[in-house]
Symmetry: C2
Amino acid sequence: MADTGTATPRERYRAQVRAEIKEHAWRQIATTGASALSLNAIAKQMGMSGPALYRYYANRDELITELIRDAYRSLADTLRTAAEEAAGKNGGTSSEEGGGLAVLAHAVRSWALRDPQRYLLIYGTPVPGYHAPDDITAISSQIMTLLLDAGSATPPEQPEQPASLLERHLADHGDWAAGHPAPPAVLHQALSFWTRVHGVLSLELAGHFTGMGFDPALLFAAEVDDLLAR
Amino acid sequence: MADTGTATPRERYRAQVRAEIKEHAWRQIATTGASALSLNAIAKQMGMSGPALYRYYANRDELITELIRDAYRSLADTLRTAAEEAAGKNGGTSSEEGGGLAVLAHAVRSWALRDPQRYLLIYGTPVPGYHAPDDITAISSQIMTLLLDAGSATPPEQPEQPASLLERHLADHGDWAAGHPAPPAVLHQALSFWTRVHGVLSLELAGHFTGMGFDPALLFAAEVDDLLAR
DNA sequence: CAACGTTCGTGATAGCCTCTAACTAAATTT
DNA sequence: AAATTTAGTTAGAGGCTATCACGAACGTTG
């Protein structure tokens, strides 16, 4: 992650300390959540006094932004490799219905369950003032492209369905697809994929299903199945 | 909201100050979000010194819990009246398909858009340590009951659909429905309603659609329509 | 009415936090 | 070897939650 192979020893040291700070930050976030992240506590854990940390990150926001960036990158990488594996396995002919998107859905879920706070850092409640820098929105559009690719490989089942109100709207307002040549039905499918996956996942991670006694995995699968069988 | 009609004048004064504190809290939350809510700042806005506030709320958590309670109550009331109006209008015979749930979906969305932070206070990223008291989970199960009632009034369209894996699971693990006599298909529909509405809404409120150029209302409507036309 | 107990608000204080400033020590460059 | 850049320190301003001890207002009761 940090390019420790090149450049001056000073830069290598700096990169290593920055990485170590992030490690402590992730550990702290995993237990207390991002809102309670404390630069002071991280510094003490690393054996140095509070203000020293500001040599490496200008302020708390900059550290959190870096964490968000890494989280997005990790999710994008996870989905990319999942999509490649799925494409390699059945070599172009999809033996299972909409296999690409189903695999991606499962990949998102296991990635989120592995570290819930990392998922919530990206898709959870935002801090009202905060606005993500451009390179982060670029990564998030890479994720969207992966969804559109997977959706294009196996277009929606039901043929000749009349275009819905939303799809007619998307025909004119689909510029967000970064020039992806997907038809409105695929755009619609990608958006639904996103919102449904997030809908089940975020409620599950927030603990709204605990005590209800059913298995969230089955609800998740049902939502994805319904999307693919449309 | 505060019962100012009865009891001693001291209790009335106390209830009024508590209400005023909550008003300032809501105003603050609306702009800065719940995580940045400051008892100190509220006290200063009310012209009294910081510690005075602790006469009325034992700590920050207690105030936030009260706000969450009020938010849940407000949402439950909104949905209840929406359901009653919908039931009264077409007098039992549903002229429109699944009218009850569609009306409820619209009611949730407009309620959330009216005060996004109030929605996120309930369904947003939770504080890892926090656990809601029992009376709050009771209100949230009232909301679930409303969904189940609406879903029972107009059962899913497609007749004779074989029970899915999830629905067979819900037949055994549906005790969360508070003794509601709804069949598994209706339980499934209510859960999907919840997750889909939340999926679109939370991403919209978090600003993840801004800059994409399409109208979230149409995506929301499409998701709900798809649920009802299943 | 007067005495009493309860309740409200105050300032002081402890202990967190973010972040700035001034200064020392070490490492790198010239 | 000297000059410069960088890393770390302590001190401190200003914010926060929360507790404590005290005086002042209030309602109740003899």
